[in-house]
Protein backbone atom coordinates (compact mmCIF):
# COMPACT_ATOMS: atom_id res chain seq x y z
CA UNK A 1 0.00 0.00 0.00
CA UNK A 2 2.81 2.38 0.99
CA UNK A 3 4.65 1.48 -2.19
CA UNK A 4 1.52 1.91 -4.30
CA UNK A 5 1.05 5.40 -2.86
CA UNK A 6 4.67 6.14 -3.67
CA UNK A 7 4.14 4.97 -7.25
CA UNK A 8 1.10 7.20 -7.65
CA UNK A 9 3.19 10.12 -6.40
CA UNK A 10 5.93 9.25 -8.89
CA UNK A 11 3.51 9.01 -11.80
CA UNK A 12 1.89 12.30 -10.82
CA UNK A 13 5.27 13.99 -10.64
CA UNK A 14 6.20 12.61 -14.06
CA UNK A 15 2.86 13.71 -15.49
CA UNK A 16 3.24 17.25 -14.19
CA UNK A 17 6.73 17.48 -15.69
CA UNK A 18 5.75 16.21 -19.13
CA UNK A 19 4.76 19.26 -21.10
CA UNK A 20 3.13 17.30 -23.92
CA UNK A 21 0.94 15.30 -21.53
CA UNK A 22 -0.15 18.48 -19.78
CA UNK A 23 -0.99 20.08 -23.11
CA UNK A 24 -3.03 17.20 -24.51
CA UNK A 25 -4.89 16.32 -21.33
CA UNK A 26 -5.58 19.77 -19.86
CA UNK A 27 -4.95 22.62 -22.30
CA UNK A 28 -6.29 20.91 -25.45
CA UNK A 29 -9.82 20.08 -24.15
CA UNK A 30 -10.13 23.45 -22.40
CA UNK A 31 -9.12 25.16 -25.62
CA UNK A 32 -11.90 23.36 -27.48
CA UNK A 33 -14.63 24.11 -24.99
CA UNK A 34 -13.69 27.79 -25.05
CA UNK A 35 -13.39 27.83 -28.84
CA UNK A 36 -16.78 26.21 -29.43
CA UNK A 37 -18.38 28.23 -26.72
CA UNK A 38 -17.30 31.38 -28.52
CA UNK A 39 -18.22 30.10 -32.00
CA UNK A 40 -21.67 28.78 -31.19
CA UNK A 41 -22.71 31.14 -28.45
CA UNK A 42 -26.43 30.63 -28.02
CA UNK A 43 -27.06 28.81 -31.28
CA UNK A 44 -29.58 26.00 -30.80
CA UNK A 45 -29.45 22.69 -32.64
CA UNK A 46 -33.07 21.94 -33.37
CA UNK A 47 -33.02 18.18 -33.68
CA UNK A 48 -31.85 17.90 -30.06
CA UNK A 49 -33.57 21.00 -28.80
CA UNK A 50 -30.23 21.79 -27.24
CA UNK A 51 -27.81 24.64 -27.51
CA UNK A 52 -24.88 23.55 -29.63
CA UNK A 53 -22.45 24.07 -26.76
CA UNK A 54 -24.60 21.86 -24.56
CA UNK A 55 -24.38 19.19 -27.17
CA UNK A 56 -20.62 19.58 -27.42
CA UNK A 57 -19.58 19.69 -23.73
CA UNK A 58 -20.14 15.95 -23.08
CA UNK A 59 -18.25 15.27 -26.31
CA UNK A 60 -15.30 17.35 -25.13
CA UNK A 61 -15.30 15.40 -21.87
CA UNK A 62 -15.17 12.14 -23.85
CA UNK A 63 -12.34 13.62 -25.91
CA UNK A 64 -10.47 14.59 -22.74
CA UNK A 65 -10.93 11.05 -21.43
CA UNK A 66 -9.32 9.79 -24.60
CA UNK A 67 -6.35 12.16 -24.46
CA UNK A 68 -5.29 10.80 -21.09
CA UNK A 69 -6.93 7.38 -21.34
CA UNK A 70 -5.61 6.45 -24.76
CA UNK A 71 -3.01 8.85 -26.14
CA UNK A 72 -0.89 9.64 -23.08
CA UNK A 73 -1.19 6.12 -21.72
CA UNK A 74 -0.29 4.18 -24.85
CA UNK A 75 2.65 6.32 -25.86
CA UNK A 76 3.89 6.79 -22.29
CA UNK A 77 3.89 3.08 -21.59
CA UNK A 78 5.45 2.13 -24.93
CA UNK A 79 8.17 4.72 -24.46
CA UNK A 80 9.08 3.71 -20.92
CA UNK A 81 9.07 0.09 -22.00
CA UNK A 82 11.27 0.76 -25.02
CA UNK A 83 13.73 2.79 -22.97
CA UNK A 84 14.24 -0.18 -20.66
CA UNK A 85 12.84 1.48 -17.56
CA UNK A 86 10.57 -1.47 -16.74
CA UNK A 87 13.46 -3.84 -17.31
CA UNK A 88 15.58 -2.00 -14.75
CA UNK A 89 12.67 -1.85 -12.31
CA UNK A 90 12.11 -5.58 -12.66
CA UNK A 91 15.47 -6.09 -10.92
CA UNK A 92 14.10 -4.41 -7.80
CA UNK A 93 11.52 -6.00 -5.48
CA UNK A 94 8.84 -3.69 -6.95
CA UNK A 95 5.94 -5.83 -8.13
CA UNK A 96 4.76 -5.25 -11.65
CA UNK A 97 1.11 -4.99 -10.66
CA UNK A 98 2.07 -2.21 -8.23
CA UNK A 99 3.83 -0.35 -11.02
CA UNK A 100 0.79 -0.76 -13.25
CA UNK A 101 -1.61 0.11 -10.42
CA UNK A 102 0.22 3.37 -9.81
CA UNK A 103 -0.13 4.31 -13.46
CA UNK A 104 -3.83 3.45 -13.61
CA UNK A 105 -4.69 5.34 -10.45
CA UNK A 106 -2.81 8.40 -11.64
CA UNK A 107 -4.52 8.32 -15.05
CA UNK A 108 -7.91 8.00 -13.43
CA UNK A 109 -7.15 10.93 -11.16
CA UNK A 110 -6.23 13.04 -14.19
CA UNK A 111 -9.48 12.04 -15.86
CA UNK A 112 -11.48 13.17 -12.83
CA UNK A 113 -9.61 16.46 -12.76
CA UNK A 114 -10.20 16.99 -16.49
CA UNK A 115 -13.90 16.28 -16.17
CA UNK A 116 -14.32 18.56 -13.18
CA UNK A 117 -12.45 21.39 -14.91
CA UNK A 118 -14.57 21.08 -18.05
CA UNK A 119 -17.79 20.99 -16.04
CA UNK A 120 -16.77 24.09 -14.13
CA UNK A 121 -15.71 26.02 -17.23
CA UNK A 122 -18.80 24.88 -19.13
CA UNK A 123 -21.25 25.94 -16.47
CA UNK A 124 -19.53 29.15 -15.38
CA UNK A 125 -18.36 30.54 -18.72
CA UNK A 126 -21.12 29.29 -20.97
CA UNK A 127 -23.91 28.79 -18.45
CA UNK A 128 -24.48 25.19 -19.42
CA UNK A 129 -27.09 23.60 -17.17
CA UNK A 130 -25.77 20.37 -15.70
CA UNK A 131 -29.24 19.18 -14.83
CA UNK A 132 -28.44 15.48 -14.47
CA UNK A 133 -27.38 13.44 -11.47
CA UNK A 134 -23.65 13.98 -10.82
CA UNK A 135 -23.29 10.48 -9.41
CA UNK A 136 -24.40 9.02 -12.74
CA UNK A 137 -22.02 11.37 -14.51
CA UNK A 138 -19.17 10.11 -12.35
CA UNK A 139 -20.18 6.51 -12.99
CA UNK A 140 -20.30 6.99 -16.76
CA UNK A 141 -16.96 8.81 -16.75
CA UNK A 142 -15.46 5.96 -14.74
CA UNK A 143 -16.77 3.40 -17.19
CA UNK A 144 -15.31 5.48 -20.03
CA UNK A 145 -11.95 5.67 -18.23
CA UNK A 146 -11.87 1.89 -17.82
CA UNK A 147 -12.79 1.38 -21.45
CA UNK A 148 -10.20 3.77 -22.87
CA UNK A 149 -7.42 2.62 -20.54
CA UNK A 150 -8.06 -0.95 -21.66
CA UNK A 151 -7.88 0.14 -25.29
CA UNK A 152 -4.61 1.95 -24.48
CA UNK A 153 -2.99 -1.16 -23.03
CA UNK A 154 -4.34 -3.26 -25.87
CA UNK A 155 -2.61 -0.89 -28.30
CA UNK A 156 0.58 -0.94 -26.22
CA UNK A 157 0.49 -4.73 -26.38
CA UNK A 158 -0.05 -4.79 -30.13
CA UNK A 159 2.55 -2.18 -31.00
CA UNK A 160 6.19 -2.73 -30.16
CA UNK A 161 7.97 0.49 -30.91
CA UNK A 162 7.38 3.75 -29.06
CA UNK A 163 7.30 5.76 -32.28
CA UNK A 164 4.60 3.60 -33.80
CA UNK A 165 2.64 3.54 -30.55
CA UNK A 166 2.71 7.30 -30.47
CA UNK A 167 1.51 7.62 -34.06
CA UNK A 168 -1.11 4.92 -33.98
CA UNK A 169 -2.63 6.03 -30.68
CA UNK A 170 -2.92 9.50 -32.21
CA UNK A 171 -4.77 8.09 -35.23
CA UNK A 172 -7.08 6.04 -33.00
CA UNK A 173 -7.74 9.11 -30.90
CA UNK A 174 -8.65 11.32 -33.86
CA UNK A 175 -10.80 8.63 -35.39
CA UNK A 176 -12.72 8.06 -32.18
CA UNK A 177 -13.07 11.80 -31.78
CA UNK A 178 -14.24 12.82 -35.25
CA UNK A 179 -16.38 9.76 -35.91
CA UNK A 180 -17.56 9.62 -32.29
CA UNK A 181 -19.95 12.55 -32.53
CA UNK A 182 -17.76 14.77 -30.40
CA UNK A 183 -18.07 17.93 -32.49
CA UNK A 184 -21.10 17.22 -34.62
CA UNK A 185 -23.98 14.75 -34.28
CA UNK A 186 -23.44 11.59 -36.24
CA UNK A 187 -26.94 12.11 -37.65
CA UNK A 188 -25.13 14.51 -39.99
CA UNK A 189 -22.98 11.69 -41.37
CA UNK A 190 -23.70 9.66 -44.49
CA UNK A 191 -25.46 6.36 -43.86
CA UNK A 192 -22.43 4.04 -44.18
CA UNK A 193 -20.35 6.15 -41.79
CA UNK A 194 -23.13 6.37 -39.31
CA UNK A 195 -23.27 2.60 -38.90
CA UNK A 196 -19.55 2.55 -38.22
CA UNK A 197 -19.81 5.50 -35.89
CA UNK A 198 -22.58 3.85 -33.92
CA UNK A 199 -20.29 0.93 -33.14
CA UNK A 200 -17.55 3.07 -31.59
CA UNK A 201 -17.15 3.33 -27.82
CA UNK A 202 -16.70 7.10 -28.04
CA UNK A 203 -20.06 7.57 -29.80
CA UNK A 204 -21.92 5.48 -27.28
CA UNK A 205 -20.19 6.99 -24.29
CA UNK A 206 -20.92 10.40 -25.71
CA UNK A 207 -24.63 9.62 -26.04
CA UNK A 208 -24.88 8.24 -22.51
CA UNK A 209 -23.02 11.15 -21.02
CA UNK A 210 -25.13 13.70 -22.87
CA UNK A 211 -28.30 11.95 -21.85
CA UNK A 212 -27.53 11.75 -18.14
CA UNK A 213 -25.68 15.05 -17.86
CA UNK A 214 -27.61 17.50 -20.03
CA UNK A 215 -30.89 15.90 -21.00
CA UNK A 216 -31.61 14.62 -17.51
CA UNK A 217 -32.55 11.17 -18.66
CA UNK A 218 -32.29 8.17 -16.38
CA UNK A 219 -29.25 6.01 -16.85
CA UNK A 220 -31.51 3.00 -17.37
CA UNK A 221 -32.86 4.45 -20.59
CA UNK A 222 -29.38 4.26 -22.05
CA UNK A 223 -28.77 0.59 -21.33
CA UNK A 224 -28.07 -0.26 -24.95
CA UNK A 225 -25.29 2.33 -25.24
CA UNK A 226 -23.92 1.38 -21.82
CA UNK A 227 -23.80 -2.24 -22.89
CA UNK A 228 -21.83 -1.20 -25.94
CA UNK A 229 -19.24 0.69 -23.92
CA UNK A 230 -19.10 -2.15 -21.41
CA UNK A 231 -18.55 -4.59 -24.26
CA UNK A 232 -15.66 -2.55 -25.60
CA UNK A 233 -14.20 -2.43 -22.10
CA UNK A 234 -14.42 -6.16 -21.45
CA UNK A 235 -13.15 -7.26 -24.87
CA UNK A 236 -10.28 -4.73 -24.87
CA UNK A 237 -9.35 -5.67 -21.33
CA UNK A 238 -9.22 -9.39 -22.11
CA UNK A 239 -7.18 -8.81 -25.25
CA UNK A 240 -4.92 -6.33 -23.43
CA UNK A 241 -4.19 -8.92 -20.74
CA UNK A 242 -3.45 -11.52 -23.39
CA UNK A 243 -1.18 -9.32 -25.45
CA UNK A 244 0.43 -7.44 -22.57
CA UNK A 245 4.19 -7.12 -22.80
CA UNK A 246 6.66 -5.68 -20.36
CA UNK A 247 9.61 -5.89 -22.74
Amino acid sequence: MRILARQVRLETRLFLRRKDDLFWTLAFPLFFIVLFGLIYGDIVWDFFELRAIEYILPGIIVMALMTSGIMATTSGFAEERERGIYRRLSLTPLKRHTLLGGQLIQRYAVILVQTTLLLIVGSLAFSIQISGNLFWVWLVVTLGALCFLSIAFLLAGLIKSARAANGISMIVFFMLMFLGGVFFPNEMMPEFLRAFSNALPSTNLNDVLRAVMIMDRGIGEMWRELLFVGGWFVVSLLLAIRLFRWE
Binding site: R17, I85, L91, T92, P93
Partner: protein, 311 residues
Protein backbone atom coordinates in the same frame (compact mmCIF):
# COMPACT_ATOMS: atom_id res chain seq x y z
CA UNK B 1 34.42 -29.91 -8.55
CA UNK B 2 33.08 -27.58 -5.89
CA UNK B 3 29.88 -28.21 -4.07
CA UNK B 4 27.19 -25.60 -4.49
CA UNK B 5 26.98 -24.45 -0.88
CA UNK B 6 30.57 -23.84 0.03
CA UNK B 7 30.97 -21.20 2.72
CA UNK B 8 32.97 -18.67 0.79
CA UNK B 9 31.28 -19.19 -2.55
CA UNK B 10 28.76 -16.47 -3.33
CA UNK B 11 27.72 -17.30 -6.87
CA UNK B 12 27.77 -20.71 -8.48
CA UNK B 13 26.85 -21.40 -12.07
CA UNK B 14 26.65 -24.91 -13.44
CA UNK B 15 26.21 -26.12 -17.01
CA UNK B 16 24.37 -22.95 -17.92
CA UNK B 17 23.09 -22.74 -21.46
CA UNK B 18 20.93 -20.35 -23.42
CA UNK B 19 19.89 -20.58 -27.02
CA UNK B 20 18.56 -17.82 -29.26
CA UNK B 21 17.11 -19.48 -32.30
CA UNK B 22 19.98 -21.36 -33.88
CA UNK B 23 22.64 -19.59 -31.82
CA UNK B 24 23.99 -21.06 -28.61
CA UNK B 25 24.64 -17.79 -26.80
CA UNK B 26 25.78 -19.59 -23.66
CA UNK B 27 27.10 -23.09 -24.13
CA UNK B 28 27.12 -25.08 -20.90
CA UNK B 29 29.38 -22.91 -18.77
CA UNK B 30 30.27 -23.42 -15.11
CA UNK B 31 32.11 -21.21 -12.66
CA UNK B 32 31.92 -19.96 -9.12
CA UNK B 33 32.69 -16.63 -7.53
CA UNK B 34 34.27 -16.32 -4.10
CA UNK B 35 33.13 -13.90 -1.46
CA UNK B 36 34.89 -10.54 -1.62
CA UNK B 37 36.56 -10.96 -4.97
CA UNK B 38 36.21 -8.95 -8.14
CA UNK B 39 35.45 -11.52 -10.78
CA UNK B 40 35.77 -10.50 -14.39
CA UNK B 41 34.05 -11.96 -17.42
CA UNK B 42 36.16 -10.89 -20.36
CA UNK B 43 35.41 -11.45 -24.00
CA UNK B 44 34.57 -9.82 -27.30
CA UNK B 45 31.09 -8.50 -28.08
CA UNK B 46 28.70 -11.37 -28.63
CA UNK B 47 30.70 -13.82 -26.52
CA UNK B 48 27.75 -14.39 -24.16
CA UNK B 49 28.94 -12.28 -21.20
CA UNK B 50 25.80 -10.20 -20.84
CA UNK B 51 23.47 -13.15 -21.36
CA UNK B 52 25.32 -15.04 -18.64
CA UNK B 53 25.10 -12.37 -15.98
CA UNK B 54 21.55 -11.43 -16.91
CA UNK B 55 20.55 -15.03 -16.26
CA UNK B 56 22.18 -14.88 -12.84
CA UNK B 57 20.39 -11.60 -12.09
CA UNK B 58 17.07 -13.17 -13.04
CA UNK B 59 16.42 -11.06 -16.14
CA UNK B 60 16.56 -14.01 -18.52
CA UNK B 61 15.57 -17.63 -18.26
CA UNK B 62 18.24 -20.16 -19.21
CA UNK B 63 17.50 -23.25 -21.29
CA UNK B 64 19.48 -25.39 -18.90
CA UNK B 65 21.75 -25.33 -15.87
CA UNK B 66 21.79 -24.22 -12.26
CA UNK B 67 22.47 -20.87 -10.66
CA UNK B 68 22.89 -20.25 -6.98
CA UNK B 69 23.37 -16.83 -5.39
CA UNK B 70 24.19 -16.59 -1.67
CA UNK B 71 23.02 -20.17 -1.29
CA UNK B 72 19.63 -19.49 -2.88
CA UNK B 73 18.51 -21.22 -6.05
CA UNK B 74 18.30 -18.15 -8.27
CA UNK B 75 16.18 -19.83 -10.93
CA UNK B 76 13.55 -21.07 -8.48
CA UNK B 77 13.44 -18.09 -6.15
CA UNK B 78 14.39 -15.00 -8.12
CA UNK B 79 12.38 -12.75 -5.78
CA UNK B 80 14.58 -13.65 -2.80
CA UNK B 81 17.73 -12.78 -4.75
CA UNK B 82 16.57 -9.24 -5.50
CA UNK B 83 17.11 -7.95 -1.96
CA UNK B 84 20.64 -9.36 -1.90
CA UNK B 85 22.11 -8.22 -5.19
CA UNK B 86 22.76 -4.94 -6.96
CA UNK B 87 22.81 -4.61 -10.71
CA UNK B 88 24.18 -2.08 -13.12
CA UNK B 89 22.97 -2.90 -16.61
CA UNK B 90 24.98 -2.13 -19.72
CA UNK B 91 22.73 0.86 -20.29
CA UNK B 92 20.47 1.93 -17.49
CA UNK B 93 17.47 3.92 -18.59
CA UNK B 94 15.57 5.92 -16.07
CA UNK B 95 12.69 8.34 -16.13
CA UNK B 96 14.31 11.44 -17.65
CA UNK B 97 12.05 13.84 -15.78
CA UNK B 98 13.12 12.98 -12.27
CA UNK B 99 15.98 14.44 -10.29
CA UNK B 100 19.04 12.46 -9.25
CA UNK B 101 18.02 12.60 -5.60
CA UNK B 102 14.48 11.48 -6.43
CA UNK B 103 15.76 8.54 -8.46
CA UNK B 104 17.84 7.26 -5.54
CA UNK B 105 14.95 7.81 -3.10
CA UNK B 106 12.63 5.99 -5.46
CA UNK B 107 14.82 2.91 -5.76
CA UNK B 108 15.64 2.91 -2.05
CA UNK B 109 11.92 2.78 -1.34
CA UNK B 110 11.59 -0.54 -3.14
CA UNK B 111 13.89 -2.36 -0.71
CA UNK B 112 13.47 -3.46 2.87
CA UNK B 113 16.59 -1.60 3.84
CA UNK B 114 18.28 1.21 1.98
CA UNK B 115 21.36 3.35 2.38
CA UNK B 116 20.52 7.05 2.95
CA UNK B 117 20.46 8.93 -0.33
CA UNK B 118 23.01 11.55 0.74
CA UNK B 119 25.54 8.89 1.76
CA UNK B 120 25.11 7.12 -1.53
CA UNK B 121 25.42 10.26 -3.66
CA UNK B 122 28.58 11.11 -1.73
CA UNK B 123 29.97 7.67 -2.49
CA UNK B 124 29.52 8.00 -6.25
CA UNK B 125 30.47 11.73 -6.24
CA UNK B 126 27.10 13.01 -7.40
CA UNK B 127 26.32 15.19 -4.40
CA UNK B 128 26.53 18.40 -6.41
CA UNK B 129 24.21 16.92 -9.05
CA UNK B 130 21.50 15.80 -6.66
CA UNK B 131 18.96 18.34 -7.90
CA UNK B 132 19.74 17.87 -11.60
CA UNK B 133 17.32 16.02 -13.82
CA UNK B 134 18.48 12.65 -15.12
CA UNK B 135 18.23 14.06 -18.64
CA UNK B 136 20.88 16.66 -17.81
CA UNK B 137 23.58 14.18 -16.77
CA UNK B 138 26.64 13.30 -18.84
CA UNK B 139 27.37 9.71 -19.81
CA UNK B 140 29.78 9.23 -16.93
CA UNK B 141 27.37 10.78 -14.44
CA UNK B 142 24.56 8.54 -15.66
CA UNK B 143 26.81 5.52 -15.13
CA UNK B 144 27.58 6.67 -11.61
CA UNK B 145 23.90 7.18 -10.89
CA UNK B 146 23.28 3.67 -12.21
CA UNK B 147 25.94 2.45 -9.81
CA UNK B 148 24.31 4.34 -6.93
CA UNK B 149 21.01 2.62 -7.75
CA UNK B 150 22.78 -0.73 -7.80
CA UNK B 151 24.18 0.02 -4.33
CA UNK B 152 21.00 1.41 -2.79
CA UNK B 153 20.09 -1.78 -0.91
CA UNK B 154 23.66 -2.28 0.33
CA UNK B 155 23.96 -5.57 -1.56
CA UNK B 156 26.65 -8.13 -0.86
CA UNK B 157 26.95 -9.03 -4.51
CA UNK B 158 27.18 -6.56 -7.35
CA UNK B 159 26.80 -7.21 -11.05
CA UNK B 160 28.32 -4.57 -13.30
CA UNK B 161 27.80 -5.06 -17.02
CA UNK B 162 30.47 -3.16 -18.94
CA UNK B 163 30.63 -0.39 -16.36
CA UNK B 164 33.11 1.73 -18.29
CA UNK B 165 32.10 1.20 -21.91
CA UNK B 166 31.72 4.53 -23.64
CA UNK B 167 33.39 6.51 -20.86
CA UNK B 168 36.35 8.81 -21.43
CA UNK B 169 39.66 7.77 -19.84
CA UNK B 170 39.22 10.03 -16.85
CA UNK B 171 35.71 8.82 -16.08
CA UNK B 172 36.94 5.27 -16.52
CA UNK B 173 39.71 5.73 -13.93
CA UNK B 174 37.25 7.26 -11.52
CA UNK B 175 34.91 4.28 -12.02
CA UNK B 176 37.84 1.91 -11.43
CA UNK B 177 38.68 3.51 -8.13
CA UNK B 178 35.03 3.36 -7.07
CA UNK B 179 34.93 -0.35 -7.90
CA UNK B 180 38.16 -0.98 -6.01
CA UNK B 181 36.57 0.86 -3.07
CA UNK B 182 33.62 -1.55 -3.19
CA UNK B 183 35.94 -4.50 -2.94
CA UNK B 184 37.57 -2.92 0.11
CA UNK B 185 34.14 -2.79 1.70
CA UNK B 186 33.97 -6.54 1.31
CA UNK B 187 31.52 -6.64 -1.56
CA UNK B 188 31.69 -9.31 -4.19
CA UNK B 189 31.77 -7.82 -7.66
CA UNK B 190 31.09 -9.60 -10.91
CA UNK B 191 31.82 -7.47 -13.92
CA UNK B 192 31.88 -7.98 -17.64
CA UNK B 193 34.21 -6.07 -19.87
CA UNK B 194 35.84 -6.19 -23.22
CA UNK B 195 38.75 -4.08 -22.02
CA UNK B 196 41.64 -6.27 -21.03
CA UNK B 197 43.34 -3.44 -19.09
CA UNK B 198 40.21 -3.21 -17.01
CA UNK B 199 40.19 -6.91 -16.22
CA UNK B 200 43.91 -6.84 -15.39
CA UNK B 201 43.61 -3.78 -13.20
CA UNK B 202 40.55 -4.74 -11.23
CA UNK B 203 39.92 -8.43 -11.19
CA UNK B 204 41.29 -11.08 -8.92
CA UNK B 205 40.13 -13.74 -11.35
CA UNK B 206 39.04 -13.55 -14.93
CA UNK B 207 36.93 -15.89 -17.03
CA UNK B 208 37.67 -15.43 -20.71
CA UNK B 209 34.58 -16.12 -22.81
CA UNK B 210 34.31 -16.72 -26.51
CA UNK B 211 31.37 -18.09 -28.51
CA UNK B 212 29.37 -18.86 -25.37
CA UNK B 213 32.10 -20.86 -23.67
CA UNK B 214 34.64 -20.12 -20.98
CA UNK B 215 37.95 -20.80 -22.66
CA UNK B 216 40.13 -19.91 -19.66
CA UNK B 217 39.59 -18.97 -16.03
CA UNK B 218 42.28 -17.89 -13.57
CA UNK B 219 44.05 -14.87 -12.11
CA UNK B 220 45.31 -12.50 -14.81
CA UNK B 221 48.93 -13.33 -13.86
CA UNK B 222 48.34 -17.06 -14.06
CA UNK B 223 46.52 -16.72 -17.37
CA UNK B 224 49.44 -14.84 -18.82
CA UNK B 225 52.01 -17.19 -17.34
CA UNK B 226 49.98 -20.23 -18.35
CA UNK B 227 49.71 -19.14 -21.94
CA UNK B 228 53.51 -19.34 -22.10
CA UNK B 229 53.73 -15.87 -23.56
CA UNK B 230 56.93 -13.90 -23.81
CA UNK B 231 57.61 -10.47 -22.42
CA UNK B 232 59.46 -8.00 -24.53
CA UNK B 233 62.46 -6.00 -23.28
CA UNK B 234 63.38 -3.07 -25.44
CA UNK B 235 66.63 -1.10 -25.25
CA UNK B 236 66.71 2.07 -27.31
CA UNK B 237 69.93 3.34 -28.82
CA UNK B 238 72.22 0.75 -27.22
CA UNK B 239 75.97 1.39 -27.32
CA UNK B 240 78.04 -0.95 -29.48
CA UNK B 241 79.63 -2.41 -26.34
CA UNK B 242 76.21 -3.29 -24.95
CA UNK B 243 75.13 -4.81 -28.24
CA UNK B 244 78.08 -7.17 -28.36
CA UNK B 245 77.88 -7.98 -24.66
CA UNK B 246 74.21 -8.94 -25.00
CA UNK B 247 74.96 -11.15 -27.95
CA UNK B 248 77.82 -12.88 -26.19
CA UNK B 249 75.96 -13.43 -22.95
CA UNK B 250 73.90 -16.58 -22.90
CA UNK B 251 70.58 -15.04 -21.91
CA UNK B 252 67.32 -17.02 -21.84
CA UNK B 253 65.95 -14.78 -24.57
CA UNK B 254 65.65 -14.37 -28.30
CA UNK B 255 67.44 -11.25 -29.42
CA UNK B 256 66.44 -9.25 -32.44
CA UNK B 257 68.82 -6.53 -33.40
CA UNK B 258 67.44 -3.36 -34.94
CA UNK B 259 69.20 -0.24 -36.17
CA UNK B 260 68.46 1.90 -33.17
CA UNK B 261 67.19 -0.65 -30.69
CA UNK B 262 67.52 -4.18 -29.44
CA UNK B 263 64.55 -6.35 -28.57
CA UNK B 264 64.75 -9.33 -26.24
CA UNK B 265 61.83 -11.75 -26.19
CA UNK B 266 61.75 -13.85 -23.06
CA UNK B 267 59.51 -15.84 -20.76
CA UNK B 268 61.76 -14.97 -17.87
CA UNK B 269 61.96 -11.22 -17.93
CA UNK B 270 63.14 -10.77 -14.35
CA UNK B 271 66.24 -12.93 -14.85
CA UNK B 272 67.08 -11.27 -18.15
CA UNK B 273 66.67 -7.82 -16.61
CA UNK B 274 68.94 -8.77 -13.74
CA UNK B 275 71.63 -9.93 -16.19
CA UNK B 276 71.37 -6.76 -18.25
CA UNK B 277 71.66 -4.42 -15.29
CA UNK B 278 74.59 -6.41 -13.91
CA UNK B 279 76.28 -6.22 -17.31
CA UNK B 280 75.67 -2.51 -17.49
CA UNK B 281 77.02 -1.91 -14.01
CA UNK B 282 80.15 -4.05 -14.57
CA UNK B 283 80.98 -2.24 -17.77
CA UNK B 284 79.90 1.19 -16.71
CA UNK B 285 77.25 1.48 -19.42
CA UNK B 286 74.36 3.91 -19.15
CA UNK B 287 71.01 2.19 -19.64
CA UNK B 288 69.27 5.31 -20.78
CA UNK B 289 66.19 3.85 -22.26
CA UNK B 290 65.04 0.38 -21.36
CA UNK B 291 61.44 -0.76 -21.18
CA UNK B 292 59.70 -4.00 -20.43
CA UNK B 293 56.40 -4.92 -21.95
CA UNK B 294 54.76 -7.86 -20.29
CA UNK B 295 52.29 -10.02 -22.13
CA UNK B 296 48.70 -8.90 -21.55
CA UNK B 297 45.34 -10.62 -21.46
CA UNK B 298 44.92 -9.34 -24.99
CA UNK B 299 47.87 -11.54 -25.98
CA UNK B 300 46.35 -14.42 -24.03
CA UNK B 301 43.11 -14.05 -25.96
CA UNK B 302 45.03 -13.88 -29.21
CA UNK B 303 46.99 -17.00 -28.27
CA UNK B 304 43.82 -18.89 -27.31
CA UNK B 305 41.59 -17.93 -30.21
CA UNK B 306 43.87 -16.62 -32.91
CA UNK B 307 41.82 -13.43 -32.93
CA UNK B 308 42.09 -9.97 -31.43
CA UNK B 309 39.79 -9.21 -28.51
CA UNK B 310 38.52 -6.10 -30.25
CA UNK B 311 38.18 -6.34 -33.97
Amino acid sequence: MRTIQQMSTVVTVRNLSKRYGGLLAVDGISFSVEEGEIFGVLGPNGAGKTTTIEIIEGLRKPDGGEVSVCGIDALREPERIKELIGVQLQTTSLYEQIRVKEAVDLFGGYYRRAIPTSTLLEEVSLTDKRDSYVSQLSGGQKQRLALALALVNDPGVLFLDEPTTGLDPQARRSMWSTITGLKQKGKTVILTTHYMEEAEQLCRRVAIMDHGRIIALDTPEALIAGAGLESRIEIDHPSETLRSLLKQAELPARISDGDDKILLHTKNSSQVLKEITRMAADNDIDLESISVQKATLEDVFLALTGRQLRE
